[in-house]
């Protein structure tokens, strides 16, 4: 197993390097003077020089690239053009709402989507299967901001059960913290549940056609045991894979959800940075999100060997 883990860890390094180069290239390949692009229309020559200097844009391209990698390796993401605050510090201050949202959504998804997929797979084409599949198409199709506003309209404005929006830290009391996360998690988990329920269903249906299931049936194992023990265990690899890949849509969803519900997390920070054209912040957040995505999928790939001992690379 260990040679595989090491090989897999090493193979994600080039992807990270490519991501860093792409992010580096976006700014430098933009037509025109990058400093002028960053400074906006009514910048003075002095401001331009300051930006050029602080981001090293006056250096040759290769030197800039080397500096960029050196900075990244030392965990330095630069400073906000607006406030001068280090990007890493801004990220630290905004981490809690985003983590709460992401972890909550992940939890709700695993708790709901996998049972939904199992139920649907028991009788393909049956009523429950159709219900789950319809939910899944709806989940894919209705944008998070539409779901979000419908939820606000119903649960907050119409019935007044939950606060409209906002965020309170856990130190303000557990309920004050939780009640403001219920609707965001509901809105965000729609796509994710759709994705995971669908793959659970299709992988279980596929496994159910295997020989070992027929063997288990013919020796008289109860259907329940066949589903949970033989089918689900063998369907685990695609399910875990999709949980990992789904993190990409989760990240997009976080950006949108935090805007709809006014949560002061990293997603809001992206939007604020875009509106203020604060490029170092955007750049830092793209790297953070992409690296998180790559790392989660790395962990998923390593988990394969735990779920399915047959896998040996």
């Amino acid at each position: 197993m260990f040679p595989y883990v090491i090989k897999r860890v090493l193979s994600s390094v080039p992807v990270m390097i490519v991501v860093a180069i792409v992010v580096f290239a976006i700014l430098r390949l933009t037509p025109g003077d990058p400093a002028a692009v960053l400074a906006g229309n009514d910048a003075t020559g002095e401001q331009l020089d300051r930006i050029r200097e602080s981001m090293g844009l006056d250096q040759p391209l290769l030197v800039q690239l080397v500096t960029w990698f050196r900075q990244l390796l030392s965990g330095d993401l630069g400073e906000s053009l607006l406030s001068g605050i280090p990007v890493t510090r801004m990220i630290g201050e905004r981490l809690a709402p985003t983590l709460s949202l992401a972890v909550g959504t992940m939890g709700v998804t695993i708790l709901l989507a996998i049972p939904m997929g199992i139920v649907a797979a028991r009788k393909p084409g049956g009523v429950l299967d159709r219900a789950v599949m319809s939910f899944s198409v709806l989940g894919f199709s209705i944008p998070i901001f539409v779901t979000g506003y419908v939820l606000i309209y119903l649960l907050a404005l119409r019935f007044g059960w939950l606060p409209v929006q906002g965020y309170r830290p856990m130190s303000d009391g557990l309920w004050a913290y939780a009640e403001r996360l219920i609707m965001p998690i509901m809105a965000l988990s729609g796509v994710y549940i759709a994705l995971v329920a669908r793959i659970t269903r299709s992988s279980i249906i596929e496994v159910m056609g295997e020989d070992f299931i027929r063997t288990a049936r013919s020796k008289g194992a109860p259907e329940r045991r066949i589903l949970m023990r033989h089918a689900l265990r063998n369907a685990a690899v695609p399910i875990v894979t999709v949980l990992g890949i789904g993190v990409a849509s989760l990240i997009t969803g976080v950006v949108v959800t935090e805007s709809v519900f006014n949560l002061p997390g990293l997603g809001r920070l992206v939007v604020e940075a875009v509106l203020a054209r604060d490029y170092p912040v955007i750049q830092g957040l793209i790297l953070l999100f992409s690296f998180t995505y790559i790392l989660i999928n790395l962990v998923v790939d390593i988990l394969y060997t735990v779920f399915d001992p047959r896998i040996r690379y």
Partner: protein
Amino acid sequence: MGHPLRNDAAEFDTAVQPPESRAGLGLRMLRQMFSSWPSVVAAAILIAIVLTALFAPLLSTADPVAISPAERFALSSDLHPLGTDAFGRDIYSRVVHGARVSLIVGAGAALVSVSLGLVIGVVAGYFRAVDSVIMRTMDGIMAIPSILLAIALISLTGASLMTVLVAITVPEIPRVVRLVRSVILNVRSEAYVEAAVTLGSPVWRILLRHMVPNTVAPLIVQGTFVFASAILTEATLSFLGAGLPTEIPSWGNMMSEGRMYFQLYPGLVLYPGIALALTLLSVNILGDVLRDLLDPKMAKRA
């Protein structure tokens, strides 16, 4: 990363199909496609939306961009069936024109990403020397969440229909490339391709005649999903205030402007939201049906 993802390239079955006349095949597919009511409803909705987009000026009751401060937040009337927004603009006419924007963005992104992805994918699949460089670049682009990549591109270039289209298209290309590449890799070892190589056919002829036709069916399916995903991305970007210029009446822009008044006038957000959700829903349902038809191997599973 070779994950068994939805629409993943490796899933497509490129085995030789039994011969059937082209017309017969088309007819059978059409019949199969509309044998269930969800696909019929989806097709009807999509046709309605396409017609709305085509005839938007005729269907509108007012100029979608005409501002009239005296009529702010007007209620429903004959002239303004869904009322007016914060600038006194007619909501109904704006929703109708929004269909145009969405379909243009969706179709544009689908066409461009499929054609660019096809070229890059064929090159990567056939010319092994450049394969790993291309594929590592694609892996890198795919690892960046698409909305963030689009946001970064737009924040630098400024928002216009063109830059938004580019920003939406670029993140879609890697998936198409992987799909095309895997089809090319699969058919490379087919006997008819090897025969053509042995006979000394020129490379362009082998590619165009023997290999590229195999990518058409999976690309149609992938194109539908790109179409839906591009519409969603445009709406999301505009909703976040990082998309199309605000004077363009797109559904995302309408929702973005309506947010502030949502508590008093929920319709400002809900009407364009419903239009958007219906469009995506119908395209996704038809995409699923298409995939089941064109890709029998996947159909058994999903």
